[in-house]
Symmetry: C2
Subunit: 215 residues, 2 copies
DNA sequence: TTTTACCGACAGGCAGTCGGTCTATAACAA
DNA sequence: TTGTTATAGACCGACTGCCTGTCGGTAAAA
């Protein structure tokens, strides 16, 4: 039985299936046969739409990156709200795990998907710090922050968050998480040259939404 | 022709071969047959000494980690020299690429070896910050630094270095590298609560050895 | 009739297994 | 001391099953 669909529709079916399977079993643990069966197509069809298995992963990452960076930019662009809140929203945009449509984040952070993780990290590290740096510069003009290196500060913050929420946080007690968060806030305050405690206040303003922000 | 050797000798032969091959072609790009041929043994022999291909990688990483953390601890323990210099030496210990025996670092930082990279990073992030944090505490007692969170500061520094020297530095101009280094030094100064410029001086004391420190 | 999407048999290569073989050493007998 | 046998550790290579990617051909749509 042969079912014909538009190329883009098929492509997305394949990507959706791969998304789920990679999440469950990892990239290496998922065979192209798994994807074939899940979508209900033949081998040739898969390779008609994608040139290799890795090509599927790249497309998946691309789809995800557009979402991620787009959300971050959108959050940063909304000039109707304060710089503080925009920063928080950008950071929270990195955590789409709460989002209904995609649970990529859940499974990205496991050793099975090392390559996928690395590729996404590259985009985050390349894309997010510039957005945050612009916000920091705006904050500097308003006298909120004081640093000659807004970009490098944000780069450090993003990299740290991105790494730390990966490995350590997973197997940590709540108290451990909290004290680490306090230390983190303190360090950011120093980096941004703001007086002690003002950032901690800000973070509490937005509730505990931060505790589980996974980048 | 059958050549019999002691188990550990064979194991090391296999590891040496795998080390080179993984470096040249990456983990995925290297087949067990490649290793077999290079060592000059049969399939069964390989699986007599290692239970899987990944097991070989793990042994390789273990061998490397012992070296790395050992060197870092040794550098930190030498109480005859100043805290400043010991810190520098620990950081430089992470850069064994200059070392004659091992060039692992060169090839670890490429996408082919994502999993290997991730595993080593985990050890570095787990092992190095505690060592540095102790040094910072010593420095605090001497009035050199001022921070309530020495561990978290060092964690941030190590993670940042480890990540940044990976991806970005590779395709950067010398000027770009320098300005990034200045920003980095400035940020560390803020984290450690020392007055502006003292760290930069320290780094220059030890020459340009830092510019190419790859973690 | 041409283009687009699809099919499935096939080739080549891969990791890991398994029954069997060799050899160094030890233990024992002459 | 010398010769013999037993044993365990090291080694071998054919084989299995799976996996990715290819290719000639086919059906449906335009």
């Amino acid at each position: 039985m042969r079912i014909v669909k538009e190329a883009e529709e098929r492509r997305n079916e394949i990507l959706d299936a791969a998304d789920q399977l990679f999440g469950q079993k990892g990239f290496d643990g998922t065979s192209t046969n798994d994807i074939l069966e899940k979508v209900g197509i033949a081998r040739g069809t898969l390779y008609y739409h994608f040139k290799s298995k890795e090509d599927i992963m790249d497309a998946l990452i691309e789809r995800y990156n557009v979402l991620l960076i787009g959300a971050a930019q959108e959050a940063a662009a909304d000039k109707s709200i304060s710089v503080y809140e925009r920063i928080m929203r950008v950071v929270m945009a990195l955590n789409i795990s709460g989002n209904s449509s995609h649970e990529i984040m859940e499974h990205i952070h496991k050793p099975q998907n090392a390559l996928m993780h690395q590729k996404i990290q590259k985009v985050i590290i390349g894309g997010v710090p510039p957005i945050l740096a612009d916000l920091i510069r705006e904050g500097i003009e308003q006298g909120l922050f004081h640093t000659p290196f807004p970009f490098e500060c944000m780069e450090m913050v993003v990299i740290y968050l991105n790494t730390i929420f990966d490995q350590d946080m997973v197997d940590m007690t709540d108290e451990g998480r909290l004290s680490r968060l306090q230390a983190f806030a303190f360090n950011i305050e120093r980096l941004l040259g703001v007086e002690n405690g003002s950032l901690m206040e800000m973070m509490q303003m937005f509730g505990s939404g931060e505790g589980d922000s996974q980048v």
